[in-house]
Amino acid sequence: MEKLLEVKDLQISFQTYGGDVQAVRGVSFDVFKGETLAIVGESGSGKSVTAQSLMKLIPMPPGKIIGGQILFEGEDIVTKTEKEMEHIRGKEISMIFQDPMTSLNPTMRVGKQIAEVLIKHQNMPKADAKKRAVELLHQVGIPMPETRVKQYPHEFSGGMRQRVMIAIALAANPKLLIADEPTTALDVTIQAQILELMKKLQKQTNTSIIFITHDLGVVANVADRVAVMYAGKIVETGTVDEIFYDPRHPYTWGLLASMPSLESSDHGELAAIPGTPPDLTNPPQGDAFAPRNQYSLAIDFVKEPPIYQISETHFVRSWLLHPNAPKVEPPEIVKKRMRKLPSSFEQAILVKEA
């Protein structure tokens, strides 16, 4: 598969009164053409910052990319100027935000908000852009698009607004769509509709999607691959099957164990991860997750864990995979689901020292 996006050792910090917050601390991942990568993590794990930095949408200052590269089709976005970014935003990469209630301009007709993208990136005359806006609204499943284009956002429901956002995002046929918690603010039934719509449109257009969420249930539904983020770092990446059926990082176990599911409800035991995420103005030594980790080792408090490879596609950042580490059992709920995947290597391979 062809790589569309390659993020290498990205580091982002924010200046605040209390000191620099190191929101993203060396994140690397790839996105291939046509796939959906989900980035999962608690709030404050740096997933949204990572996503917004791909379009250079984080406010700078106080935000700052202090290191790393974002290669989009081989070109580094980090070094691009604002002017150059204008030709990437909306045209090559576009974005959907969390809250459809606030992400549309309240005083501009919906049709015009869609047409803007077409006029900017496809040099469409106004009239054509208006016509195309109607088609796009129809495509995202909005009934009576001819009347709807002339309406203002407040005349739409939350789900309908998110559909409009999708229409805007996909108007110029971007190669990459970043969806930053697009369904979090919606009702569950609407959530499912929006996810279905995104999957359908992705099939039609072969767009790659980065899907940011804290909801593993949504991940199972949409993603091809998953990256789990904690405290500004990716702790585990793998295919959906690898993450759900053969997770290796204790944080991933924690997330899976705290996910309510139909099967687990019988036993009624939902495990919460104890404690709170660390303060990233002053990140702890060693593994940031160690203090909350019931499987932490003495070395976790001293030394950053290295990355181990479990399969072609599965990477984990944990000392537990070191040959000398004790064998530990994941929580019951996770263990029940675990199975041996054929793609796994015989033994974890150390790929990168921390």
Binding site: T16, Y17, G18, P62, P274, G275, T276, P277, P278, D279, T281, N282, P284, A290, P291, R292, N293, Q294, Y295, S296, L297, A298, I299, D300, F301, V302, P306, W319, H322, N324, A325, P326, V328, L350, E353
Partner: protein
Amino acid sequence: MDTDQLRKEDFELVGVKIEETEKISKPSLSFWKDAMYRFRKNKLAMLGVLLLALLIFMAIFGPYMSGYDYRTNDLTSKNLPPSAEHWFGTDELGRDVFTRTWEGARISIFIGLAAALIDLTIGVLWGGIAGYKGGRLDEVMMRTADVLYGIPYLLVVILLMVVLGQSVGTMILAMTITGWVNMARIVRGQILLLKNQEYVLASRTLGATTPRIMARHLIPNAMGPILVTMTLTIPTAIFTEAFLSFLGLGLNPPLASWGTMASDGLPALRFYPWRLLFPATFICLTIFAFNVIGDGLRDALDPRLRK
């Protein structure tokens, strides 16, 4: 490789150490401490505080400094320019402008403070009760306030001064008769916003009484906007006093207020500019000080601006 040299005890299972997470998370500042911190960092606001402190100091001690009385005429020393004798010069009746300026500061600041406090009292009671009780009472109280709000402030003040005669008391009355409406609207808005929040509901389910909820939860939380509005009422009152004096509706002589001094000095501007310059400068400085303090408070207390 490096990892191969790790000792066996490095891999001992340790488990959760929650104290660690608690320990490293930064000490959380309380709302007021945080606000104070942000306020102190605002240089303009601190300049305002300094200015105000100086003005208040001079209002208290200034009138005794030069040894002249603010109302003793001395026709032998009329319209003298500033000198070692008379630091700010003298006016057309030979009175010492320095002493009169600080005497005027007392009156201007007193009027400002009194107007602000009266607005505060009526506004908080009216807005608080309307917002808290809600329903028909709220409807009636706020419609009344709306009607009063529609009445142009300065026109009311002018009318009342014409009818009631000119004194400090009538001036304060005139300024507050519709002035409180603004405060009431702000308080009501805050109360409505706060009263449905969980922590208020929580304390109500725990059986807290209405006055207790008001005193413990609502008023302290509505304090921010109230404080800002109050800070901005004071310069308005000082400005209004000057404006009235200018229309000939100011305080009667020999009382000195900045407004009367400025309007007396105005016709003499070409020949005796100090008679206007000093009171005018201090009017501007005082209004400036209160404005930047008010702005600073607003920025410091607005949680949306917290980064």
